[in-house]
């Protein structure tokens, strides 16, 4: 382990000003997240979760894509291993995002750093990285912006789950298609041009094949690992 040179070790502060700035800067983004949270609440209710259960999930997990995937996999009885395992796999990218914060976060106390990372979500992480990379010195920016995401996400979940409870037959409103539509929009956002073709094509083919032969929802993890494996074995890049 090499010690970073002095100009590479930013002098990061952690205080209320950072929390407040992070929160306020993130409010416009959090409004967008709230729209998504309403959709999550409706779909969670449709999958059989109560308002309280959906809200508990949003408040403690705080990971949009993973929560939607959990709701998609939800069944009666709950396939515990599949749900928790898939959530873990989807969220493994947070390891990289947390690592990117290290140059600044190693200046914070462990308590400040490890409490802050709970509030990591894609949107406020991107905002925080932009802030820190452009010379920002507020170590509490992730916490503040994360609190904005968290509060809007939780309230939106309550709203969506409450509204979802009064919808009768989901198919009548096309809601049975909504979860597919959500995943399609996530896929469009994650699409990264031609480099995505091979992993996604492999994932799709393996998922379709294993779905035909394996019981339950194991095809999700089989397809995902097959797709990610193509990136590992690729010789170029």
């Amino acid at each position: 382990m090499t010690a970073a040179p002095a100009d590479d070790a930013p002098d990061v502060q952690f205080g209320w000003a950072g929390v407040r700035d992070g929160y306020l800067r993130c409010v416009p983004v959090a409004l967008g997240v709230a729209g998504y949270g309403v959709v999550f609440g409706v779909l969670a209710r449709e999958a059989g979760l109560s308002v309280a259960e959906a809200t508990l999930m949003s408040a403690t997990v705080l990971a949009g894509a993973a929560q939607l995937i959990a709701v998609e996999l939800w069944a009666d009885p709950v396939p515990v291993a599949t749900v928790v395992g898939t959530v873990l796999v989807v969220n493994l990218r947070y390891v990289l995002m947390g690592a990117a914060l290290r140059p600044w976060f190693r200046r914070l106390s462990p308590r400040q750093a490890y409490a802050s990372v709970f509030f990591t979500a894609d949107e406020n992480w991107a905002l925080t990285m932009g802030e820190l990379r452009s010379g920002g010195r507020q170590g509490a920016f992730l916490l503040g912006s994360g609190l904005a995401i968290w509060s809007f996400w939780v309230v939106a979940t309550v709203v969506g789950a409450t509204a979802g409870g009064v919808v009768g037959d989901p198919a009548r409103y096309g809601l049975d298609f909504a979860l597919t539509a959500v995943f399609l929009t996530i896929a469009v956002e994650l699409w990264d041009g031609r480099s995505t073709v091979v992993p996604w094509g492999t994932a799709a083919a393996v998922a379709v094949l294993t779905e035909a032969f394996l019981p339950g929802r194991w095809y999700v993890l089989c397809g995902a690992f097959a797709g990610a494996l193509t990136v590992v074995v690729r010789r170029d890049a």
Partner: protein, 105 residues
């Protein structure tokens, strides 16, 4: 299924908390583990590719076995999401499209 809005089934709470724990471990893991080991470039790319691969793996069998109204509506969602970049607009138009195509086809 109509359930009491404030119901908290023990199994559900357990699964939710397990989800919370594994998610927190991934969020904190980057700070903790990567200070001690360096991740090979290939492993980083694989972690990066996983979310997309999971989403595609969920979608593929569902779309392959779906009906023509679903395929058409899926096309609408992808098109609108690419053009506008707005998730909610894409979602609303997609749900509207599936209702329309089901009525027509």
């Amino acid at each position: 299924m109509t359930r009491d809005p404030v119901a908290l089934a023990p199994l559900t709470v357990g699964v939710v908390l397990a989800m919370a724990v594994v998610t927190y471990l991934t969020k904190a893991g980057g700070l903790w583990v990567l200070g001690r080991v360096t991740l090979p470039d290939r492993a980083e790319r694989a972690l990066d590719a996983l979310p997309g691969a999971v989403v595609v793996s969920i979608l593929a069998p569902a779309v392959v076995t779906a009906d023509p109204p679903t395929w058409l509506a899926a096309g609408v969602v992808v098109l609108v999401a690419r053009r506008t970049g707005n998730v909610l607009v894409a979602l609303l138009l997609g749900v509207g499209a599936v209702l329309l195509f089901r009525g027509l086809l």
